[in-house]
């Protein structure tokens, strides 16, 4: 194992120990602390959304509606969708791991705009507050898609506070994306060329492009919804000259790219994990890097595939369908390259790697079933059924959440300075993988059999699949609670982590665990490509030098 430069490490207080007051956390501009603030917030929302899903699954155990009222059920799946999409998945990796890692990985002392970064968190929390007010005030029953004219003219629930909450949280997302873009462009350490960037950075950069360019469209759409609902003027209301399909176009112009906001960061994490735990350089670095950008760009051109049966022109449908097939290619490139990376590696089955391998499997299923939905006549049959529900859960939960958890475990020693308990880690990874498949695979079948989504009661022939699904969900719930418990436990009781417990090459591993407030004692100089792993366990870190050392040498 190569030695890391001692000059990069001067034992100064870590970012955690720099100060202990509540104020030092709530007014911090340290990207690492802000990342943790986000982590606390979204973990809370994950369990709120999960609780709603639990009741939904219990209701669906029997065909009759017997547990809650239909109004309640509709609010539950809406809460589940809104919270999980806007307050967990979209911020999940970019605001936590992204915030924590992007500056360190490129050798910067902080994000380009630290105060804006803190402001983003507060904006997010204000948005979250509106969402909570909407929930306490009676909830929302429109589904997370807010389709008009139901949302503007018919629903009697708290649509406006919820829309405002999402709008505000959207600005947080925009500012986070903006911060990451500028940081990657302008804050890279000397020697960190574009093609020396870890693939995590490439994917986060692509994600940020989407955040900055798609979210404002959602913001304006929600403004229009709120105006229409408040003043009873017909922007999308056909009775007043409006067009409900225009809402769907605007909504999906954001919300389809938003799916890539959720999955690209997952791909970002997995690229790091696969190569580290295979002790091999990533296979096809440039193809993976550019496929992230390709996904971001093509992702803007496929929104109409949500509308194949909506009454849009069939020629539009043809175009959207063909581009939707094309967007699968960069995703396939990633899967093939990850698989090829394993070849002749030295593969360890640590918890993060189990999550990463699980991710590839579930993402493959999610992606391929996406092609079913891109196929026009098949989509006509399965859209708005449980087939779609299963498909996007394979992407947004099976893939994105697994990657998030894998990333949390991988970087936990860096974040907390402690190791998580490996045995419990493996147990929870396997539990989640099995529970997930049992929950969602039967939904593909129920969907093809014709069970529509958002159904409170359903025809008896779908019960078998729903019982399987609910059984799986209980296993999944256990799998999610386990890491919450043992990770919190490990913060005090876990084994103290070394600076680079995985023997990884990235800059974040060349500083201390946990890192000091400004990440590096001195600005590092990047001297190597990423992922210079050898199967015998040795590796070449991306930096062994600092700027000051060079200056000293030059002076000498």
């Amino acid at each position: 194992m190569s030695a890391t430069a001692p000059a990069l490490k001067i034992r100064e207080p870590s970012y955690i120990n720099a100060a202990y007051t509540a104020k030092s956390w709530l007014l911090t501009t340290d990207h690492k602390r802000i990342g943790l603030l986000y982590m606390v917030a979204i973990t809370f929302f994950f369990f709120v959304g999960g609780l709603a899903a639990t009741v939904v699954r219990l209701e669906l155990l029997t065909p009759q509606g017997d547990l809650v009222l239909p109004e309640t059920y509709n609010k539950l799946f809406t809460v589940h969708g809104v919270i999980m999409v806007f307050f967990f998945l979209i911020p999940s990796i970019p605001t936590t791991l992204g915030n924590f890692l992007v500056p360190i990985m490129i050798g910067a002392r902080d994000m380009a705009f630290p105060r804006l970064n803190l402001a983003s968190w507060y904006i997010f929390m204000v948005g979250a507050l509106f969402a909570i007010v909407a929930l306490i005030g009676g909830g929302v029953d429109t589904g997370w898609t807010f389709y008009t004219p139901y949302s503007t003219g018919f629903s009697n629930t708290q649509v406006i506070p919820m829309a405002i909450g999402i709008l505000i949280a959207g600005f947080s997302s925009i500012f986070t994306g903006l911060n990451i873009i500028i940081t990657v462009h302008k804050m890279r350490a000397p020697g960190m060329t574009w093609f020396r960037l870890p693939l995590f950075i490439w994917s986060m950069y692509a994600t940020s492009l989407i955040m900055v360019l798609a979210t404002p469209v959602l913001a304006m759409t929600l403004v229009l919804i709120a105006v229409e609902r408040t003043f009873h003027v017909g922007i999308f209301d056909p009775a007043l000259g409006g067009d409900p399909l225009l809402f769907q176009h605007l909504f999906w112009f954001y919300s389809h790219p938003a799916v890539y906001i959720m999955i690209l960061p997952g791909m970002a994490v997995v690229s790091e994990l696969i190569t580290c735990f295979s002790r091999k350089p990533i296979f096809g670095y440039k193809f993976i890097a550019f496929s992230s950008i390709a996904i971001a760009v093509f992702g803007f051109l496929v929104w109409g595939h949500h509308m194949f049966v909506s009454g849009q022109s069939i020629y539009s449908s043809l175009i959207f369908s063909s581009i939707s097939f094309a967007v699968a290619i960069p995703s396939a490139i990633k899967v093939f390259n990850w698989t090829a990376t394993l070849y002749k590696g030295s593969i360890s089955w640590d918890t993060p790697m189990l999550y990463a391998l699980g991710f590839i499997g579930l993402f493959t299923i999610g992606g391929l079933t996406g092609l079913f939905l891109a196929t026009l006549p098949v989509d006509v049959h399965v859209t708005d059924t449980y087939f779609v529900v299963a498909h996007f859960h394979y992407i947004m939960v099976g893939s994105a959440v697994l990657a998030y958890l894998g990333g949390i475990h991988f970087w936990w020693p860096k974040i907390s300075g402690r190791m998580y308990p490996e045995w419990w880690g493996k147990v929870s990874a396997i539990t989640i993988f099995l529970g997930f498949n049992l929950t969602f695979f039967p939904q593909f079948i129920a969907g093809y059999q014709g069970m529509p989504r958002r159904y409170y009661a359903y025809a008896p022939e779908y019960q078998v699949m729903n019982v399987l699904s609910t059984a799986g969900a209980s296993i999944l719930a256990i799998g999610y609670v386990l890491p919450l418990i043992y990770l919190i436990w490990s913060m005090r009781e876990g084994e103290v982590a070394s600076d680079n417990p995985w023997g990884a090459t990235g800059l974040e591993w060349q500083t201390e665990s946990p890192p000091p407030t400004f990440n590096f004692a001195e600005t590092p100089i990047v001297t190597a490509e990423p992922y210079q792993y050898n199967p015998d366990g040795t590796f070449t870190p991306q930096t062994t030098l600092s700027v000051r050392q060079i200056k000293k040498e030059v002076a000498a």
Partner: protein, 390 residues
């Protein structure tokens, strides 16, 4: 399809093709997923840390391989796209011949209206082996008409007609679901489609024929018990009444000499607008012209028609549409009309009575128009029904 228990009933001319395409997709998916999963497991085991295997000369890039695994999926996916596109075209191209049924969606029920005047709630009776063309509209929010066994689904929009069609191939009772979330009782917005053999269908029609006179008949035909409102008049006749009631006839005289254009034979034909555009007079055109008359102004006529948006229900609109369709069109076969009154000697008579009685000075033209429509319905293009009813 192939007897797989997980597949739903397959009961339309399209459902087999959709299933075939679906199964091909399943095979293609397995073709990718199985090798990927297999390789991951194989590599993860074979190259596990500590295993004594040859790890030398591990490749880290291979341009040809990258291009290969870009191009092959691209070609395959474009093939699937082309196949799907063709089938989608068939799904969304309404056939020229077939019977029309109008579908009204509202929170939370389905209403079906037959041109012959019958009206059903939540149950749709159709004959096997005939194209059924649906014109769908919602009275409130967006719904979606979904019959899994037919593999068709189409959103039902407020303010705009959409169309769908199917041809059932197997008698039986099938689920009808609302597939677009529409509020509290979304999952209760259910119905069934009862597909009958041609002769059973005819029997069902006979049971609910017009001369039973507007009572709710308990129907005991195959399938569930359903309430059918038996008609006193066809939709076109009802439309003619509405036409008279709203005073449309004052301007839209059949001879074209009124303040508005004649509507005889307008359906299905191109219309020259004042702004040089030419539009096709389809159902949506007729609807828009009543709701929003000044958006599309017919050339050579003044824009003086007021909107009827406030005065007319979706139900009446459908009747007017059906009436205007019944006035015939030069280019395509007029809408298929089951001769509802069976052996009534003057098919033009009943509708003509109402129509011409109202249209004082235009009586001559009106009779022409009406009989034009009725004549063609008597021409036997509705074959089975017409003869079966005798």
């Amino acid at each position: 399809m192939l007897g797989l228990p997980i597949m739903p009933d397959s009961a339309s001319t399209l459902s087999g093709s959709v299933d075939t395409l679906f199964l091909v997709l399943v095979l293609l998916a397995l073709l990718f997923a199985v090798p990927v999963a297999g390789l991951i497991i194989y590599f993860a085991v074979k190259y596990r840390r500590g295993a004594a295997v040859n790890r030398s000369n591990a490749p880290i890039e291979n341009f040809k391989l990258e291009v290969t695994w870009m191009v092959i999926p691209l070609i395959l996916s474009m093939g699937v796209f082309g196949w799907g596109a063709r089938l989608y075209f068939d799904m969304f191209t309404t056939p020229k011949d077939g019977m029309d049924i109008y579908v009204l969606g509202r929170q939370w029920m389905w209403e079906f209206k037959y041109p012959t005047g019958q009206r059903e709630l939540n149950v749709l009776h159709v004959p096997v082996g005939r194209n059924v063309r649906l014109t769908l509209i919602s009275e409130d929010v967006i719904h979606s008409f979904y019959v899994p066994a037919f593999r068709i689904k189409h959103d039902v929009l407020p303010g705009r007609y959409t169309t769908a069609w199917f041809q059932a191939t197997k008698p039986g009772t099938y689920h009808l679901f609302c597939a677009e979330y529409c509020g509290t009782e979304h999952s209760g917005m259910l119905g069934s489609v009862i597909v009958l053999e041609q002769k059973d269908y005819q029997a069902w029609l006979d049971q609910n024929r017009m001369n039973t006179g507007g009572v709710i008949a308990e129907n005991t035909s195959p399938g569930t018990q359903t309430a059918v409102t038996a008609p006193t008049q066809t939709m076109a006749q009802a439309g003619a009444q509405t036409f008279q009631h709203l005073g449309c006839y004052v301007c839209h005289r059949p001879d074209g000499k009124g303040a508005g254009p004649s509507l005889v034979g307008v359906y299905g034909k191109p219309v020259q607008l004042a702004n040089q555009q030419v539009v096709l007079a389809d159902t949506n055109y007729i609807r828009d012209s009543i709701i929003d008359p000044n958006a599309q102004i017919v050339a050579d006529y003044p824009p003086i028609m007021p909107t009827y948006a406030e005065q007319i229900s979706e139900d009446d609109l459908l009747k007017l549409v059906e009436y205007i369709k019944s006035l015939g069109s030069g280019t395509e076969a007029p809408p298929e009309m089951i001769n509802p009154t069976g052996g009534m000697p003057q098919p033009g008579g009943s509708s003509g009575n109402q129509g011409s009685g109202a249209q004082d000075s235009g009586a001559q033209g009106s009779t022409n128009g009406d009989s034009g429509g009725s004549d063609s319905s008597g021409n036997g293009n509705s074959g089975t029904q017409g003869s079966g009813g005798q």
